[in-house]
Point group: D3
Chain length 136, copies 6
C-alpha cells in the first residue's frame, strides 16, 4: 500500500477507510487494550502500513507483561516524553497511566523526579564529575 | 564560603578537607542513605556550599518516601539520564536502583521503554499528530 | 536598522515595510529559490538585519550545490528538526523537500530512520557501549 | 534466557559464549551485512535476547532496501546521532556510511547541515515564528 | 493537601480558591517580585503544594541577588529555554528580562549566541574533537 | 582544498601543515583573540576550509562587540553547551569566560540557573501550562 498522504501534517486514516491490513492492526490494538477506539497516533502511522505494523509490534512487546508493572512502564514513557517535550505523548501515555491507576500524587511525584533529574544531569555535566570507582 | 575551585573540571572536596557546613551535609547524606561514603557529585557541589545544601534538600524531598516506591523513583531518574546522555547519572542512579532491588531484567525493560519512547516521540512530532479529544 | 520589535513573539516584516537592506536579502532569497514569496522565518529575522544577512548567507552556502544532492540535504534538515521537535522547521523544510521531489514513501522512510536512531542512541548510551577498535 | 549482566556498563557477549538464539541473530547480522564480525552494540544487547532480536529486526526492516538509497539512510542516522551527542553511534554509522561510499566532502557537508539546522531550529523557536499558510 | 487535579493538562488554582499554604507562597512571590499578579506556572504547581513551595524556594535562592546581575540571569534562563524548546518559559522569562531592562538588540544577540552555540556544539561532537591540554 | 581526512575522528591540522587559506584564518583568529595558539576545534574544522571560514566568520560577528558584554556572551555559550552536554564546548568557552574575568562564584551561579531552568522547563511541559495573556 502507498503512503501518499504522509508528510509533516499527516492525514488520519479512519477505520472505515482503512485497508484490510491496517484494519487488522487496528483490531489487534483494540483487542489488546480492551478498548473500542483508536487514537490519532495509529491513524497517522496507518499511511505507511509497514511502519504501523512494526511500531505496534514493538509497543506490544515492550509495553506488554514483563519485569515491571504496567503503571511503572507508563510512568517511564511519560518521563521520557516530558524530557523531550512531546505534548501528544504526554497526553496519550498520561491517559494510559491514569487508566492503569495513576493518582495525581503519583503524577506529581513522577514530574518532580523528571524535573530534578534534568537539573542534576546538567550540574554533573557542567562540573565534569568523574564516575566513582564504586559505580563501575 | 567561596567557590574558588569551581569550573568545568571542578575539584572534589573530601570529608577531611571539608568545612563544618559541608560536613553537616555529608553527614546527613550518609545517615539518610545508611552508607559510609560520599559519591563524587556531592564532593564537586561542595565547592559551592549553598548549592550543595539546596540540591541535597531537593533530592531528599523528591526522592524520599512518597506516592511511588523507591525503586520506581530510581528507574525514572535513570530513564531521564539515559535520554539526556548523562553517563555519570546513569551510573550513580543505576547503582542506587540495584541497591533497591533492580534486577537486570528490570533494567533491560526500563531501557527498552526509554528507547521506544524516544522513537515514538519523534514519529509523533514528525507527523504532527493532533491530540485526541479523549486525552484532553 | 533597529531591532525594536524583537522578542519571544517577534513581529513579521513584510516586503512593503522593509528597509532597502532587508529588501536586498528578500530579493536574493526569491531569486535563488526561484519563488515569489518569503516565508515567515525570514520576516521574523528581518527585525535584526545583520542576523538576517548572516543566516541567509550561511543557508545559501550550506544548502547550495555541493557534495550531496539537494533532496538529501533537505531530508537531513528535516531529520534534525524532527529530533529537536521544531514544528515550523519540519513544515518549512518538509515543503522544500517535496518541492525537490520527495515522495511520501521517502518521507516515511526518513521518519522511520529518525525514530529508530533516536531509539538506538539511547540503548547505546544506557548500556555504556565502548567504541569498537575497528571504528576508530 | 536471563539478562543477568545487564546494567549501565553492560558486558559484551562474544560469539563463542553466546546461546543458540543469540548466535542465530549474530549469523543473520553477518550474512545480511556481508561481514565476518559483530560490533559491540549487538554484543551488549545480547544480554537481553528478546531486545536483541527486536532491535535487529527493526534495523533490518528500516535500513534495508527502500525508497532512499543506502548511503542517504546512513547519513540520516549519523545526523540524528550527532544531534543527540551519541559518540558510539556517530562512529558506527559513520563507518557504515564510509563503507557505502561516503566521501569526506559528503561527511563535511552533512555535518554542516546538522550544525546549521540545530542553529535555525533555535532561532525559529526563540522568535516564536508562526507556520506559513502555504506550508500547511 | 491532595493534588487531585494534577495531570498533563493541569488546572490553574486562582488566589481566591487557594488554601492558606498556597496563598502564603503566592503572597511571597508577589512581594518578592513587587507585582500584583501570579503567572500560570505557579497556579499549576499549586495543585501540589510541597512542589510549589520547593520550586519557589529554589527560584528565590537561585534567581535572587548574587554574583551575576539580574538581567544576565534572566538571559541565561531564556537561553536554556530556547535550547529546550519550552515556549512558555521563553515567554515568561523573556518578559522578566524585558522588565529588567532587556533591549530588543540584547534579545537578538542572546538568540544569535544560542543558535550558534547549538551549531558548534554539534560540529564539535560530530568531529570528535579532543579537549586541548590548555583547557584542562 | 579537499576534506579527505574528515570523519567521526577528524585529524587536527597544525599551522605548519596548513594551506595558505587555512593559515589566513588561523592568523585572524590569533590576532582577533590576542593569543598565540589555535585550539583543536579550528584544527579539526580546517579539514574543510569553506566551513572553517564560514564558522569563524560567524563566531567573529556574533561573539564580537555588541549589545551584551563579552563575559555575558561567553556565559550564554557555556549555558547552552551544558544543556546539550558538549564537554569540549564547556571546557573551551569556560576557559574563554575565565579569561574575560569569570569568577568561580559566577560559574557556580550560571550553572545553578542552567540546572534550574532545565528543571522548570520540564515542569511547565509536563503540566501543559498555557501562556499568560500578559506575556503575549
Amino acid at each position: 500500500m502507498s503512503a501518499e498522504g504522509m508528510g509533516p501534517s499527516t492525514p488520519l486514516i479512519e477505520y472505515a477507510d482503512a485497508s484490510p491490513e491496517v484494519r487488522a492492526v487496528y483490531d489487534d490494538i483494540m483487542a489488546t487494550r480492551k478498548t473500542d477506539w483508536i487514537n490519532n497516533f495509529w491513524k497517522a502511522l496507518a499511511n505507511d502500513p509497514p511502519t504501523l505494523q512494526r511500531i505496534w509490534s514493538n509497543i506490544k512487546q515492550v509495553m506488554g507483561p514483563g519485569a515491571l508493572d504496567p503503571l511503572t512502564k507508563e510512568l517511564l514513557y511519560v518521563a521520557v516524553s516530558v524530557t523531550n517535550g512531546c505534548s501528544y505523548c504526554i497526553a496519550s501515555h498520561g491517559a494510559a497511566a491514569r487508566n492503569k491507576g495513576m493518582t495525581s500524587a503519583q503524577f506529581a511525584e513522577m514530574l518532580a523526579i523528571v524535573g530534578l533529574a534534568n537539573e542534576t544531569n546538567r550540574l554533573v555535566t557542567g562540573m565534569g564529575v568523574p564516575i566513582d570507582e564504586r559505580f563501575r
